[in-house]
Symmetry: C2
Subunit: 334 residues, 2 copies
């Protein structure tokens, strides 16, 4: 008997729900026809217990709630049109703290060329911020999770593992009870966790480059994102371990090289773009943004990593909401 949602796990529950709703294609955003362009549209709900470490300031919490939604718009190659925020605020919250949250939201939206246009406010026991972002993209430029072809290059923007390492540093600070991170390197890591940078310019540049064949953000971690991309595109991946751009600061909290690799593979929250690229177009794409080629697209659905010795299969490991205790070092931050 699997009667409770916790017994099913998030991904099986999502499968059943999308079947009920008749949603057959999964992308970072829903897609709506709008004349000669598409509207792309996403929602992400964050809450205190799972998404906001204790050391997060109000301003950072607000920033994060906007950034995670903009990251989904970026992943479609789209331009943002605006955001709405539904906020559940505990009534005992200090007004100044609540105002800081909305200043953080506003600053993040303005920083990426868009605005918060409205929302809803309610009184909740647990601080809850549910955002939704709207954007547009030309029909021939939209980037989806499907589209990768065998022989394409597998690429990522930025560096990986920072948010997972930052979370570890934050949890250690919480565990010590002082709630603060003093070391500048650890502070830099926790900033990557608390102030994610949605890759808006990069996403748009990659769409305009014409060479990208599929894309998503890596918010659930590289490994789970590869499984999502594999499922959507009917392809597999061979990742070259040495090419994964692990943030050098990750070594400050990782126990060893294997642990650093685990943080880069299995922890969420980096909000980089993971994409596949026509190898003939790599120059066009690289002109648009910094990217790292980390592997190749395979015709079979296997997802493996080449670490110099025999290939190893990657595990679909990462955070799943409905299955407690399986976090792979990262909180889910989609």
């Amino acid at each position: 008997m699997t009667d409770r949602c916790a017994d099913l796990g998030e991904r099986e529950l999502v499968r059943r729900i999308t079947e009920i709703l008749g949603i057959w294609e999964k992308d970072d955003c829903a897609v709506v026809e709008d004349g000669d362009r598409y509207l792309v549209w996403t929602t992400d709900i964050l809450h205190r217990r799972a998404d906001f470490p204790e050391i997060a300031t109000g301003w950072q919490i607000g920033w994060m709630a906007v950034a995670v939604n903009l990251s989904d718009v970026a992943a479609m190659g789209a331009v943002p049109l605006g955001l709405l925020i539904a906020a559940g605020i505990p009534p005992e919250t200090q007004v100044a703290f609540a105002e800081e949250i909305f200043r953080g939201m506003n600053d993040c939206a303005l920083g990426y060329g868009t605005r918060i246009l409205g929302g809803d406010l309610d009184s909740f026991d647990e601080l809850t911020l549910s955002g939704t972002a709207l954007g547009w993209v030309e029909k021939d430029l939209i980037l989806r999770r499907r589209g990768a072809r065998p022989g394409d290059l597998l690429c990522t923007t930025g560096t990986l593992g920072s948010a997972g390492a930052g979370l570890r540093a934050a949890l250690e600070a919480e565990g010590r009870g002082d709630g603060s991170v003093d070391d500048p390197d650890l502070q830099a890591l926790t900033r990557r966790l608390l102030l994610p940078s949605p890759r808006m310019e990069e996403g748009r540049a990659l769409a305009l480059s014409g060479g990208v064949t599929s894309m998503m953000d890596n918010s659930d971690g590289l490994a789970l994102s590869l499984f999502d991309l594999s499922q959507a595109g009917g392809v597999g991946f061979l990742v070259q371990e040495e090419k994964i751009p692990i943030d050098p600061l990750v070594s400050k909290v990782a126990e060893d090289g294997d642990d650093a690799l685990d943080l880069a593979l299995y922890s969420g929250g980096d909000f980089e773009l993971l994409f596949t690229l026509n190898p003939d177009r790599i120059d066009d794409a690289a002109r648009g943004c910094d990217l790292a080629v980390i592997g190749t697209v395979l015709g079979e659905r296997e997802i493996s990593i080449d670490s110099g010795g025999p290939r190893r299969r990657l595990q679909p490991r990462g955070y799943q909401h409905m299955t407690r205790g399986e976090a792979g070092g990262g909180r889910d931050r989609r």
Copy 2:
């Protein structure tokens, strides 16, 4: 010192937040330019404690989460394009109950000619459903909260007080501990509460009629909605008590006529459309949908009710989230 959000109250907190975000106009939906039309866009967050009475089935909970968002689209005179739902589900929730919620959402969306296009799923302590709906409307047909002119007629669709009376019947059933409502009339009232009917066709017909000068839904109750309409339009209202279309079933739970009037004025959840109408165009509007003229628009900002004797000022009473214990008989159901 007013340091906590609870001390400020919802409306003052909203005022401060909208100032931070630079939102100067409040309508049922945010409005985005889209070529020769507007996109209209809303979000509403509902949660177990405040919004879903114990007697509500999963299917009704899902229906409600979609209906409250569609009602905001209807209030702009718009056509829906789709919805997204972010759901926070307690992990111990029975899978069958969770599936029923999404079936209710799906049936409501399909019933009003639209679809749920995607969403987000997370594990929450409290069942939380945050919906967002997108729609479109021609630029010259959009209906906003501002626009009423002195001498216009004040009108409503449908009947009032049903949801407030239904809530009272539901709470009495919960208080008795059997959790069920057997009397057919009371069942009809609780259905009005649990299965709100967004006035999509009526909103669209009113927009197309060309005679409506301002509109909103009455989800916070008639009285608070009049204050919102007054503030947006810089006008006042004189309501004729005898013309308020109180649902005849309300008398089944109201103590007397005054109590029934209170339910019609101060309890939320009816999800009717409240609008002002050019008196020369009443025939055009009435061809489009059933409506009741309940008063007139005044040049001064006062909001009064004529009950036969001297005019009384209406109080801005209704549910405010952040101020516990001030509910006027209705849960907020925006």
